[in-house]
């Protein structure tokens, strides 16, 4: 079930088969613990002889049983968590053993193709302005996060409006990476910027296209609605 979810999308099992993985795990775990307890009960003489100490009174043996019971509960929980992590982390490895560095990043990070597009379209010594660190740009607006993927480019955090674009070489065009209830809040930059080049990146096809416009105007042009891309600042 977990492998199936990894290969499709988060919540795939619940959406298609209406089985909640975590709750299902609890049912299996409960069954397993029951089997262990019944087994110990059946072989109680052997259990006492081999594991418990042999000179205990009733109270001491009771304490020993409680230690064991909670230890088994802990082990069963651990086994499930470790198995889950193991399957989650290795399913992709076995199905895509020869994946490239970019592909591996993409499996784990849906924004990675966009970051890759930026690095392919900007020189390493460029200065890039990113959106403000607020909803819906909590990821693409986080300078500490972006600097890792765009390294060694310099990152400058932008404001919602009134930015000084003369300090930078490039400005990101981002729809937004977090959900907001009001559609009006999406899309940045929100002001007109004169541009040498505007490139739009399609997050679905992972392809980019250069626009012929020399001005980024978010209100006048429908190209920039829900768009991802890059503005090379400058020009007339």
């Amino acid at each position: 079930m977990i492998a199936n979810e990894v290969l499709n999308y988060e919540n795939y099992i619940f959406s298609n088969y209406h089985i909640h993985i975590n709750s299902f795990e609890n049912v299996v775990r409960f069954g397993l613990i029951l089997i262990i307890i019944l087994y110990i009960h059946k072989k109680k003489d052997l259990f006492r002889k081999k594991i418990l100490s042999n000179h205990r009174n009733f109270k001491e043996q009771g304490v020993e049983y409680i230690i064991f019971l909670f230890f088994i509960l802990f082990l069963s929980k651990s086994l499930f968590l470790v198995s889950e992590k193991m399957i989650r982390n290795t399913t992709r490895i076995f199905t895509n053993p020869l994946a490239s560095f970019s592909q591996k990043n993409e499996f784990k990070n849906k924004l990675y193709p966009y970051f890759y597009f930026i690095t392919q379209n900007t020189p390493p010594n460029s200065i890039i302005m990113i959106p403000p660190k607020q909803n819906p740009w909590l990821t693409t607006g986080n300078a500490s996060y972006m600097k890792y993927f765009l390294y060694p480019r310099k990152i400058i955090g932008g404001k919602l409006e009134d930015n000084d674009y003369s300090r930078v070489n490039y400005v990101l065009i981002t729809k937004g990476d977090w959900h907001v209830p009001n559609n009006e809040l999406y899309d940045w930059p929100k002001e007109i910027i004169s541009a040498k080049k505007i490139t739009i990146f399609d997050m679905n096809t992972k392809k980019s296209s250069i626009l012929s416009e020399n001005k980024f105007d978010p209100i006048a042009s429908s190209y920039f609605k829900n768009a991802w891309g890059l503005i090379e600042v400058g020009g007339k």
Binding site: E64, T90, I93, K104
Partner: protein, 441 residues
Amino acid sequence: MSIFLLIIIHLAGYLLMSSIDNKLSFLMKLSVGYLVSISLTTLFLFILNIVGIQYSQINTLLVISFLSLLSLLIISLKGVRLVRPNYNRIKMNLLEKRTFFIIAALALVTIIASAYWPITDWDSIVLYDYRAKSFANTGNMSEAISTGYFFGYPLLTSLAQMMIYQFGGLGPGIIHSFFYIHFLIIIYSYFSKKIKRKWILISTLFIAIIPDLFIHAQMTYTNLPFTIYFVTAYIFLEKWLENKSISNLLIFSILVGSSIWTRSTEPYWVAYLILIFIYSIIKKKYLHFAIFYLVVSIFRKPWLIFREISSGNPIGNVATQALSSVSIAFSERIIRKLPLISEYFYRYILEPRIFITISFIFSIIYVFNSSKEKSKFLPLLLLILLSYSITLAGIFVFSSSVDYWKEIGGSATRMTMFLPILEIIFIIKVIFYKKNSNLNE
């Protein structure tokens, strides 16, 4: 090339441990050697960088070579012969074979996952691995300092990951997988002297499947190395208390120092400081306390001084820090905050490991009711209780000084991931500990 780096780190570590204590088993020297080698190499690289020597592949090689040559010199001066690995085949029964297979599979998965996956975890992206990338690329620390967050944590993991980048590796997580594997070997070696043979591998498996440990072996956070240094330090504290050997005290102190060189935000090392202090007072062995404090300071002070000079924030000494923290915590009404702090403590520290904590509490009852050798369990019990106290005090201070304290409970769970390991060791010792005559049953 990364494999070459890992080989020379292991070799240097083995020589270092042989020079300090040649009586240790081959496996123990190799595994503890790996921990010590990583810690000393990164510390040397950091100190050299402060005096103007750049981070580079050749300088990393020189530092590792220097440590190896120094160890060889000590070994030859001491006139000790290096212990060869014991190739005598251990006869395993079916249960032991199966257990060994599961442990090996877990270890293999961590190595494969670390080598395959790029860094994707948040803290590593914004801090640990970013610093590693920047150091490897620029050869100095100025770029990483200028982009913020730099002084939050010491540099052990960042510099270790930098070494992987310097040697052309794409998966710096491999360093962390080896931490996990060597820790399991250390635990195996530790239990092999403490409990019956048939339970050694099973007990090691109990530790191997602790979810936090296994998950962090595939991440590049500081929590796993910190936990491993901290718990391994306890193992050497116990060894030292048993045989009073200065070399064990030295290894113990190096491991505590290394834990501070990994994470210095939470002062858990104070628990060890208190234990050693009490021991020194009772036994009137003040020199032991001095050795411990001196060695720990070698690891602790360079980062503190560097941070103080570079950031311009005076850090002060331990006593001043403790007093100022306590004054912050007590400046607010404790009673008013107590329910919130209790809830936080339960939710993030106790609840994620509730079963093991209950089992641990009953183990304490059992020891004090039934065991004739209570003193054998006392240092570990004190260490766990002191660590819980430090955690609680830390939450108090944190809740008074940081507004968003309730939002980052996950970090509190991560920073205390050494507690369930110590508790499991305690429980295993209580359950499986038998008199020496039965050890080989």
